[in-house]
Symmetry: C2
């Protein structure tokens, strides 16, 4: 199949005008019910046809005894019937001229010889019939701009620039849910399952071709065709970042991967070299995968690895400086010009170093002045700001302590006004950082004093990402910097 | 000063019957106001004496012109007046026979020669007067069993077994706040500041002597007397775990540390060797510091580094296995006996490996059977359980998807009962894990599907810790295992 043909069919898969669910069910908690509910529950605008020979209606929709009985054309068939019945359903797809299918059912190669036989059979039916399918043994797909989610648990993510390719359903879904709960916009989620026909490489090619996609994340257990993958990846990474989490790096992990999707994990050294050559960003944890991808879909890419740090509190700055050096980031010494700049604003005894310690000051404009000076400085490619967001939580704690004193000192009005002032100050900081990012086209990562990891805040200019811990900000900046250097040919 | 005398004085500092705040203020947001509010706002049962020559009353309390004007005895003086006035306040402490002081004020060694001179002066006054003091340039101290918090922002942590020694106020306070918000019980918080008189080593000795303390965390920029520290640390780590975050490991970080508390950071290699020899657990991030410490105050210490993993979903298991191998943990192969055990409970096609993949099952009793089998197995020292907690969030998402379908399928009653069943199932799992931990005396770390990091759940038996990401569980288990091996003399 040539690339254009494949893209056309994948367009049908992810942006179907009509979808049939073969094995639809009205029994709660059954897969055929979960998937149908997900599709219907999210303002999907296309036609939906449940297929189940034993039912007249499911979820208020007319139900058909077979795919071929559906009177209209169908773009996508989602197959949920048991493995032994998939070949016949696949033949019906071909008869009906359906261009794309997603085979949710498990019970194929991952279970042994008989499953492997059926898997080969359905690949042959699909190839001969000119149809492409995802899976089997996948939890499904989603495309947020199309409000389409064929998954066992819906997330209704905001449309956006993130794409997820996952060879693990549970893990992929979790990342998708994190993204949705954190309000990080999604374009495509593709759970590739056993990859009997469509491989992660095909999806990577497809996502590379979509302008809507700003960053691709991949959870990879094994790549079937290394050469094909390298060709496609090298092409895509010139256009947009590809971030991969390779599972099965260790002996124990690689054995587990083999028994999971039946994939040969291969030696990690080989993958590492391959990824590095293709310009793929490699991460080691699922949360890093999402953090880095979120930043790369939303923030400017730094040109190189030089970081300016502003900190409220010395300790945080030192920790972050250590982590920067661990991760290959460089902290340039402050120039005389910047020192003069900041001398005018900071107390006489400020530390005159990078990290810049803003000591006990609490003025949002001062923070923005320091952040702006660092971001505008030509020897810095990215800025990390520590300890200035999340103080409203401190103020709340202080207020509840005051409550216990029966308002002996602060009136209720004063307390509310202090809290309000703190929240407004933080809003001003966030909005100022959005503006400075837009002006300087450098990413500014904020580390707050709150739990919960990555938080996304929208502003009139660029959005602002805050993290709970300096290591998360450093990880993001270092991966972004490495990609920036790859793009400009200055990296390794 | 001999050790017993020092302990007696530190008992007065952390468990004062009466405390004076020199520089108390009724002006909101001033340090002399913040500290006094913190002390008063948390059911502290001792007497509190504000000292301020310009006021008759502060926060409803009688205010005294000087320490010596206070009619009763004072156990602890908290000094908040500017640096140049500290020597005179310190002399008053001596005249009044006060055994302990905390010098909050900054403006000493960290600011240059004049500050250094005053710092030396107050050390001499204190030494000659038989008084010990913390600081200067500290944000304060807290002791939770005594409901006593002399800090700029109160946290009201639950009393418990965690102790925190921090050479950074901002960072230490943040860890204290995380602990309080996460409901991890505290014994003592000690912000040591410039350590003019009392060193981190003194505090470590003191906390080592307290039975209430189950684990000591230390944020360290520099140690003044390496030999003394080694002696004390080697003694304490035989009794309880000491977990250290050394800041200033890198060149950039070490320079920043020098300008922060004026401490000589020294070479990291030296510290690393010193810590390792003394049996100190070394972590690299503040959140790791808290996670590991929380687990070590609450869960049994594993005897060695062999881990059994149960996973719901193959991908998570593979990732966790990779991380275990990265961290020096070992995943033993399942014995024939355990395989037979689980054959009776798991579907025919289960993977028969460690990690044990419980595939698509959703039965809490099954999870507990598998976790119990792994925990009781003599070749395993700790268990990690992945993907079984937090599914109620999935159910909620599914329910809100159902909402959008106008309850076409599920009645409101059915929906609520499904959600309730999920929550009850998770409660059953947690309570079962608490029981198995108590029975086997092995730690069981749970990785859930929720954001927000470490969460503590109490049960009728041992508490259960859940994390958001496998790497956090692996980090905890690996540090605990290393300590267990140190205790038994099998580690390095």
């Amino acid at each position: 199949m040539d690339r254009d043909d494949l893209i056309r069919k994948l367009d049908k898969m992810f942006f179907p005008s009509s979808v049939a669910v073969v094995g639809a069910s009205d029994v709660p908690v059954k897969w055929g019910n979960l998937i149908l509910t997900s599709i219907l529950g999210w303002e999907y605008k296309g036609s939906v046809y449940p297929v189940n020979p034993g039912k007249q209606h499911i979820l208020g929709l007319a139900c058909y005894p077979s795919l071929t009985a559906i009177p209209d054309s169908v773009d996508l068939a989602v197959l949920v019937v048991p493995a032994p019945r998939i070949p016949s359903a696949m033949r019906d797809c071909v008869s009906k001229g359906i261009p794309a299918a997603v085979v949710i059912s498990s019970g194929f190669r991952e279970l042994g010889e008989e499953g492997e036989r059926i898997e080969k059979e359905i690949v042959e039916i699909a190839r001969n019939g000119g149809l492409v399918f995802m899976g089997p043994n996948t939890m499904g797909i989603a495309s947020a701009h199309h409000h389409f989610e064929a998954l066992p648990t819906p997330s209704a993510p905001k449309p956006g620039g993130l794409a997820i390719i996952s060879q693990s359903g549970n893990l992929g879904l979790q990342i998708l849910k994190w993204a949705a709960h954190k309000d990080i916009g999604l374009d495509i989620y593709a759970g590739t399952g056993n990859e009997a026909m469509l491989h992660a490489s095909d999806l990577l090619m497809y996502l590379g071709s979509r302008d809507e996609v700003k960053a691709v994340t991949m959870y990879i257990e094994g790549i079937a065709d290394g050469r094909e993958f390298m060709e496609i990846a090298s092409e895509v990474t010139r256009k947009k970042p590809v971030i991969a989490l390779k599972a099965g790096r260790s002996q124990a992990g690689s054995k587990a991967a083999q028994s999971h999707t039946g994939s040969m994990a291969g030696s990690y050294a080989t993958y590492k070299a391959m990824f590095s050559q293709a310009g793929i960003i490699q991460v080691k944890t699922p949360s890093e995968l999402l953090n880095v991808a979120a930043a790369m879909t939303l923030l400017p890419i730094p040109r190189s690895n030089r970081v300016g740090i502003m900190t409220m509190g010395g300790g945080w700055g030192i920790i972050a400086a250590d982590q920067c050096e661990d991760s290959g980031l460089v902290l340039p010494q402050l120039s005389q010009e910047i020192i003069r700049d900041l001398d005018a604003r900071l107390p006489e005894y400020w530390n005159r170093r990078n990290p810049v310690d803003v000591v006990g000051e609490g003025d949002p404009e001062l923070y923005l002045t320091v952040i702006g000076s660092l971001a505008r400085w030509e020897e810095v490619d990215a800025v990390i700001a520590l300890g200035i967001i999340g103080r409203s939580r401190y103020v709340e704690d202080f207020m509840s302590c005051q409550e216990r004193l029966d308002g002996k000192l602060y009136s209720k009005e004063l307390k509310l006004s202090v809290l309000k002032a703190q929240i407004q100050a933080e809003d001003r900081i966030i909005s100022g950082i959005g503006r400075i990012q837009k002006e300087t086209l450098k990413p500014i990562l904020v580390v707050g004093l709150t739990e919960g990891g990555l938080t996304l805040k929208h502003t009139d200019n660029l959005p602002v990402i805050t993290l709970s811990s300096p290591e998360d900000a450093v990880s993001i900046v270092s991966h972004m910097a490495r990609y920036g250097m790859y793009l400009s040919g200055t990296g390794n």
